[in-house]
């Protein structure tokens, strides 16, 4: 028997156990473990999570895995088909495609990840502040955000990049500008519905300060939706970085950007098809993986929501 607990009504043994554990283990640690277990309970999200983990591993240990550097043009080894020597072959300039794909993982994950992170942080702050504050501040900022959303994301990105010129930093800025309104809207809607709840009003009646209410009552309610949204944003960020690279307005050569690799290999597709299909496959697998994982997260964190 679990001692210390009277046999009360709605007590769920599983959650009682985890309550106990919270004291000895850092809260985030066991929570992440539980989340991971739930993600692995469904085949599709298990596949997605695995794919994401593999790419993260690649990004972390890329230089240890890749046999060549990303830019090294191996003398006399141009346009070689995949072999044990060059697992994914070499491109028209004699660069090892496998090394470039592995090393490219770090670029795209760092860029998309950082962009998402910044956008989520800013979007959350703006959304929470605006919604909690209400009134004309909220009215104006959200008219502005709605209008930003009337610009298709890629078009806005192209316009900005066209003006400031393509570079890695520009792409980062573009990601943030494009995603802040989207994140802010999601956060805002959750805050607006939480604000009406009895427990927030109870805190107000008991004289809690606004900052304490936002921190203690509102933020925890926002986290599940925010986590799911961050995962979705991350997947679109990868998508966008790759597309910009393909269009030649994103990360510039000779960086091993997957989108860029695809577009550079295109003229030689009949000679070195591997130089095109391996990076293309890498993009596809990563995005599909993130999507499946995000879908799994949504099922776990926001059960009952279908779309």
């Amino acid at each position: 028997m679990m001692d210390g607990y009277t046999a009360g009504g709605g007590s769920d043994p599983a959650s009682l156990v985890s309550q106990d554990r919270r004291r000895s283990l850092p809260a985030g640690f066991s929570r992440a473990g539980r989340l991971l277990r739930e993600l692995y309970a469904r085949p599709s999200s298990a596949l997605g999570t695995t794919l994401v983990l593999v790419f993260f591993f690649m990004a972390l240990f890329g230089p240890l895995i890749a046999p060549y550097s990303a830019t090294e043009q191996i003398a006399g080894a141009a346009r070689q088909a995949p072999s044990l020597q060059h697992l994914f072959g070499t491109d028209h300039l004699g660069r090892d495609v496998f090394s470039r794909v592995v090393l490219g993982a770090r670029d795209i994950l760092a860029l998309a990840g950082l962009g998402t992170l910044i956008a989520v942080v800013i979007g959350t702050l703006v959304g929470m502040f605006s919604a909690y504050r209400g009134g004309w501040v909220d009215e104006i900022s959200f008219r502005l955000f709605d209008s930003l959303l009337a610009l298709p994301a890629l078009l806005l990105a192209l316009l900005l990049l066209g003006v400031v010129g393509p570079s890695r930093n520009s792409v980062l800025v573009v990601l943030v500008i494009v995603y802040v309104p989207i994140v802010a809207r999601v956060v805002r809607s959750v805050v607006l519905s939480t604000k009406q709840k009895g427990f927030v009003e109870a805190s107000r009646v008991q004289g809690e300060s606004t900052s304490a209410i936002v921190r203690r009552d509102i933020f925890p309610s926002v986290t599940p939706a925010l986590t799911v949204e961050a995962a979705l944003r991350f997947s679109y960020a990868i998508f966008l970085v790759a597309s910009l690279g393909f269009l030649g307005v994103g990360v510039q050569p000779p960086n091993p950007d997957w989108g860029l690799m695809v577009s550079q290999a295109r003229p030689y597709v009949s000679l070195t098809p591997w130089a095109l299909w391996f990076p293309a496959a890498a993009i596809a697998l990563l995005v599909v993986g993130v999507n499946l994982a995000a879908d799994g997260l949504k099922r776990v964190l926001l059960p009952g929501r279908q779309s």
Binding site: S44, R143, L144, D146, S147, L148, A150, L151, P152, A153, L154, L155, L158, L159, L160, L161, G162, V163, V164, S235, F239, A242, S243, F246, L247, G248, V249, G259, V262, S263, R266, L276, A280, I283, A284, V287, V288, V290, N291, L292, D295, Q306, S307
Partner: protein
């Protein structure tokens, strides 16, 4: 209802005003000295001053914005820096091509995705639904250039069903261009398909849970009447809004797809303009696209309201 229409129109104008302000800030103010952008680094100071006066760049920003907007509204879209041609002719011709492609895409994608979404929703969590849902989840993630390249490799290079290159000549009509439109339209369809299917499915599942479905079933109506007369009527309403939003996706998608297939539309023109930092061209393309997108949204909102008694009878 008239109140609703008035409010929507108000929003539309406000949106256009704000987006045009954003475009103005990004293209006129952000790059710094436009005169230097046009004339280049070595230009002399008097020449720069003359051009600034000519373009009105010496005036205060609000005045510049208003006159810039005024010129746009009256149809004077300026001259392209890189080609020296009037921007309006260039953009409108390419816009026609893009619309042709978008139209064909919608023609294929909308009925197909709504159908798949309804089927998946009605068979929720059965094998058929899992296939459709996971399939669309996988496809939704593939960037357009990857699907485009796969389709080219399969249908053009291996099976020789359609041409791989879609660079039609100016003035080509829809029917004449059709063979070259098929592959890019199919690529764009895949993008929309996944998105619209998922949302339609969600709508159907949501409606199936409602109490009125039980009422209808317990009237002894056959399943197909319950679905056809009761569920779909309500489930497809939000799909109208979904389609409007997905139109924004389509625009983004077409920019990439036109570049993959070398199709002379607005997207291709946009990357061309960026390559040459052709600001008037970029402005015009962006504003026109925003206008079309906003109008599509307005149309969807009005259609939704007209079909939804809860709004119509307000």
């Amino acid at each position: 209802m008239s109140r609703y229409v008035a409010r929507r129109l108000g929003f539309l104008l406000l949106t256009l005003l704000i987006t045009s302000l954003i475009v103005f800030v990004v293209t006129q103010w952000l790059p710094g000295d436009v005169a230097r952008v046009i004339l280049g680094r070595e230009a002399s100071e008097p020449a720069l001053a003359a051009l600034r006066a000519e373009l009105g760049l010496d005036k205060p920003l609000p005045v510049q914005y208003l006159s810039w907007l005024g010129r746009f509204v009256t149809g004077d879209w300026g001259t392209s820096y890189s080609t020296g041609l009037p921007v309006r002719d260039l953009v409108l011709e390419r816009a026609g091509n893009s619309l042709m492609l978008a139209g064909l895409t919608l023609l294929i994608a909308v009925p197909l995705s709504v159908f798949l979404g309804v089927v998946a929703g009605l068979k929720a969590d059965k094998p058929l639904d899992t296939t459709i849902s996971v399939g669309s989840l996988a496809v939704v993630g593939l960037p357009e250039f990857v699907t485009g390249l796969i389709l080219i490799d399969l249908l053009a290079l291996r099976l020789h069903l359609f041409p791989a290159n879609s660079s039609i000549r100016p003035g080509t009509g829809f029917v004449e261009a059709l063979p070259q439109l098929v592959l890019p339209a199919l690529t764009a369809t895949l993008v929309l398909l996944a998105y619209v299917t998922r949302l339609t499915r969600a709508g159907v599942i949501e409606e199936l849970r409602q109490g009125y479905v039980r009422t209808a079933t317990l009237k002894g109506l056959p399943r197909r009447t319950v679905v056809g007369r009761h569920v779909l009527r309500n489930a497809l309403l939000p799909t109208i809004t979904v389609l409007a939003i997905s139109f924004g996706w389509l625009i983004s998608g077409l920019i990439v797809i036109e570049n993959v297939f070398n199709y002379p539309g607005l997207g291709r023109l946009m990357t061309f303009a960026i390559d040459r930092r052709d600001l008037p061209l970029m402005q015009a393309i962006t504003l026109l696209t925003v206008l079309v997108f906003a109008l599509a949204n307005l149309g969807a909102d009005l259609l939704y309201a007209a079909l939804n008694p809860r709004i119509r009878l307000e």
